[in-house]
């Protein structure tokens, strides 16, 4: 096969001395064409396999082993690590905190992103200026955000409490109490990611063809009605994307709550009584904190992986429903916003 095609391609002149090197070059050329695609994708796949995929899968193995940070593996542990973790009240506290912070950050954030995107989706003057403006917090590291807001929400001599006292309300123990601490941490997450998600939603809104709106207007839809019955269903894929990514990121939250702990104590204690310890903080604490127990740490990682998977799927289902009954979810959304405000 190969010879015939070569013969067809090469000139019919019977000059053997000239054909030999050209045949070699053709072979090389064909190898180049065949191998190059694989060669180009291989750096990604090799590096990803070593640093991404293998560790994730190997986590399952570590999680059923007795594995000490300093002394290494000491045989199989069966499911003892899982049992031990699931029997720790601290794990459940961490899980509760994580889910609570996640809800307090993602729900208001998506609603606000929709609102601000709708405002930005107008024929603005200095359009790029406003868009850049909402994105400023994105370049502030979560660690820095945590330090800034940690001070603003300080229990004593914090700015937020000073403002509350000024308008005649009682100061709040932002660090000591559970829900206020979650609210403060959620505020940090919202601060950093709201602008980013607003721009994502805005881009989706701009991709909606104009005649869809015109048709809605002809049908007599008000602006609010247009928003819920046209805009939201039309940007559904983007909403799903935003919700799934904020689920994956939000449930792994670590930076903000560790920085929120202003006391010079253990890095990942999450407050005096673990009022804002999160699952990833617990994971760190087990593996690299006091216990050096990598087996249990891996068990927590694997559990968190499953939790993220389940919540992502639930969110996916919910988003599907929200988009198909736009009006209903709109009402629900507005009520939720009131609660959050």
């Amino acid at each position: 096969m190969a010879t015939t095609t070569e013969l067809e391609i090469s000139p019919p002149v019977g000059d053997h001395r000239r054909r030999r090197p050209s045949r070699l070059r053709q072979k090389l050329g064909r190898f180049d064409v065949k191998a190059s695609p694989y060669l180009y994708i291989s750096p990604f796949f090799i590096l990803f396999a070593i640093t991404g995929l293998f560790p994730l899968l190997y986590t399952a193995y570590v999680s059923v082993s007795k594995w000490n940070l300093l002394t290494g593996r000491h045989g199989s542990a069966g499911f003892a690590n899982y049992v031990a973790v699931l029997h720790q009240p601290f794990f459940w506290k961490a899980l509760r905190n994580t889910v609570s912070i996640f809800l307090l950050s993602s729900v208001p954030q998506i609603i606000l992103a929709l609102v601000i995107a709708a405002v930005l989706h107008a024929n603005l003057r200095a359009r790029t200026f406003w868009r850049m403006g909402v994105l400023v917090p994105y370049v502030v590291a979560p660690v820095a955000v945590g330090l800034i807001f940690g001070q603003m929400f300080a229990d004593q001599s914090g700015m937020v409490n000073a403002l509350l006292t000024k308008i005649g309300m009682n100061p709040v123990a932002w660090h000591a109490q559970v829900l206020p601490a979650h609210l403060a941490i959620a505020t940090m997450v919202n601060y950093r990611w709201l602008g980013y998600n607003t721009l994502v939603v805005l881009a989706a809104m701009q991709a909606i063809p104009n005649d869809v709106f015109e048709a809605a207007i002809i049908d007599g839809a008000s602006r609010v009605r247009q928003f819920f019955s046209v805009t939201i269903p039309m940007i559904r894929p983007t909403l799903i994307f935003v919700i799934i990514t904020s689920t994956i990121g939000g449930l792994q939250i670590f930076d903000e709550p560790t920085m929120f702990d202003q006391q010079n104590g253990a890095l990942t204690a999450g407050g005096a009584d673990g009022q804002f310890v999160t699952v990833t903080m617990y994971l760190y604490q087990l593996g690299w904190g006091s216990q050096n127990n990598l087996g249990r740490s891996a068990a927590v990682a694997w559990l968190l992986f499953l939790i993220i998977l389940i919540i992502s799927l639930v969110n996916y289902g919910l988003t599907q429903r929200i988009a198909s009954e736009g009006g209903v979810s709109g009402r629900r959304g507005r009520r939720r916003k009131k609660v959050a405000a």
Binding site: K34, A122, G133, L135, L147, S157, A203, G220, T231, Q262
Partner: protein
């Protein structure tokens, strides 16, 4: 021009309906050519102030003293005169500021260059070359963008231990050299931005595959590559968890976010100094934002439409 115009409505549905349609199109908001009113701008101004104030707050605290902070929880909008002094304290403190800055810089630059190069290579291959297994492999890449690989932290730590890299900078760089998102992003971009004719022309001229990539695909990929580089830089500059795990809070050996945590732990009583540290650490990215913020904005918006 698929929607009926007002005159068309007048003919088909009568004058009343036409007046209603005209009124409605006057009040419609989305995508209208009408300039928005002051209300829109006031909302946006509030949003902007909320976005900028926390940064300004850190600047205000950083420029005051710890006594000022205790006395005035709500800082005056005029900065104090101690910024330089506090910044000097931070950079000369025992957290190893300069080393942390240098480490962060090395990590962010190396990973940005590497992610861009490998993603463009793979993206070019996926978008423009034909090979067996292309479809399934691309699906695999897309699926892995949604996998929380950070959860592989325990074995990744063990890998680095095997390689004797604990406490060393390559341990932070190695896992960040490629991202599935980057490959997906460049594939999407090159699919639309690079015509097959260009590749064929280069091939006919006798360019090898890698030469074609270098002189045709890479230049075509430049806008998307710039954005990807920016995002990778920001992501690695702000990364905290993995450097903390693998480098630890060791002065001189770690990156800037971990150094900030040390600053907080050592000086939590003097918040003007902590905020000075925050301010100094944010400054490089703020400069980057002023220079390239436009690209970041359009990068996010392009990614949203395609993703």
């Amino acid at each position: 021009m698929s929607a009926p115009s007002v005159p068309v409505i007048r003919q088909s549905a009568g004058a009343g309906a036409a007046r209603a349609a005209a009124r409605r199109s006057g009040q419609k908001g989305a995508g209208a050519n009408r300039r928005p009113r002051w209300l829109t701008y006031s909302i946006l101004t509030v949003v902007l102030l909320v976005a900028v104030y926390p940064l300004y707050y850190s600047f205000l605290i950083a420029s005051s003293t710890k006594e000022d902070v205790a006395r005035h929880p709500i800082p005056s909008l005029i900065p104090g005169s101690h910024l330089w002094e506090n910044m000097l304290k931070v950079v000369t403190s025992d957290i190893g500021f300069w080393a942390a800055l240098r480490n962060s810089f090395v990590v962010s630059v190396v990973t940005a260059v590497s992610v861009v190069l490998f993603s463009t290579l793979a993206g070019y291959s996926f978008a423009k070359l034909r090979f067996r297994g292309r479809g399934p492999l691309l699906v695999f890449v897309i699926a892995t963008t949604a996998i929380p690989t950070q959860l592989g932290v325990v074995p990744l730590f063990l890998v680095m231990k095997q390689l004797h890299l604990i406490g060393k900078l390559p341990a932070v760089i190695l896992p960040a050299l490629v991202t599935a998102f980057g490959v997906f992003w460049m594939t999407q971009y090159l699919e639309g931005a690079l015509p097959y004719e260009l590749i064929e022309a280069a091939r006919v001229d006798g360019a090898s595959m890698i030469r074609t990539f270098w002189s045709v695909a890479l230049p075509a990929a430049r806008p998307a590559a710039t954005m990807l580089g920016l995002f990778t830089f920001v992501a690695n500059w702000t990364n905290y968890f993995w450097p903390l795990v693998v480098l630890g809070a060791v002065p001189g050996k770690t990156t800037l976010p971990v150094a900030l945590k040390m600053l907080q732990a050592h000086y939590y009583a003097d918040y003007s100094q902590v905020m000075a540290g925050v301010f100094v650490s944010v400054l490089p990215l703020l400069v980057l934002f002023i220079v390239a913020g436009r690209q970041l904005v359009s990068g996010i918006m392009q990614g949203a439409v395609k993703g």
